[in-house]
Amino acid sequence: MTVRVQTQDFDVGAELQQLSAGNHQIGGVASFVGLVRDIAPEGSGASSSMTLEHYPGMTEKRLAEIEAEAQRRWPLAATLIIHRHGRLEPGDRIVLVATASSHREAALESCAFLIDWLKTEAPFWKLEDGPEGPRWVEAKSSDDARKAAWKK
């Protein structure tokens, strides 16, 4: 179980490699990488950066709790969450969630679970540089719905 909150980028290949290194009971590694989308209107020549604010301390605590919940629900050999904060440009990596298990189903489902819960629980806020100036991204009700679906 590893949680990292950082401004620096991360090396997805190296992180996934390390997640399963030395454990030959692992049959599958599932991962999700979130990237900054360019929301500037096409042809505008503009590019949309963003700034990610977070709540130091609570962020790490919530992410560790979400990881622990995934470990309770699925037989996982290893889990990893890396989330960046600070200023990010379109195409930049924001978040990496990865899970390793002897069972592919456990790895795939817990990976989706982690990113769905992280989206609604981890205290991060996106400030986007839109065409009309900076704008706080609004939470999506679809994210709440996806999280709620895991309660079943």
């Binding site: 709540y55 301390g57 981890a122 205290p123 991060f124 806020w125 706080w136």
Partner: protein, 83 residues
């Protein structure tokens, strides 16, 4: 009591954090929000839409009836949008 504000709540209130002596009648989160609103128009504007204000006490999400006391770390912020 240590108060922390994030995202547009931080911008509207005009500060990231402060330490306040909260009156004795303020025993729950809801009462704390009511009292903060009375501190000035910046607070009143920030806290107007209560549904958009999430509260964490000592870094755990809580509801409006959760107790608060001197020494707590209370954070106010909008619904999260990371990931």
């Amino acid at each position: 009591m240590k108060l922390l504000y994030f995202a547009w709540l931080r911008q509207k209130i005009g500060k990231a954090e402060e330490t306040l002596d909260v009156p004795a009648h303020v025993k729950e989160v809801g009462q704390l929000l009511d009292w903060l609103e009375s501190l000035g128009p910046n607070y009143a504007t920030a806290l107007k839409e209560r549904k958009a204000v999430k509260v964490a006490v000592n870094q755990d999400y809580v509801g409006l009836t959760h107790p608060v006391k001197a020494g707590d770390e209370v954070a106010l912020f909008p619904p999260v949008t990371g990931g």
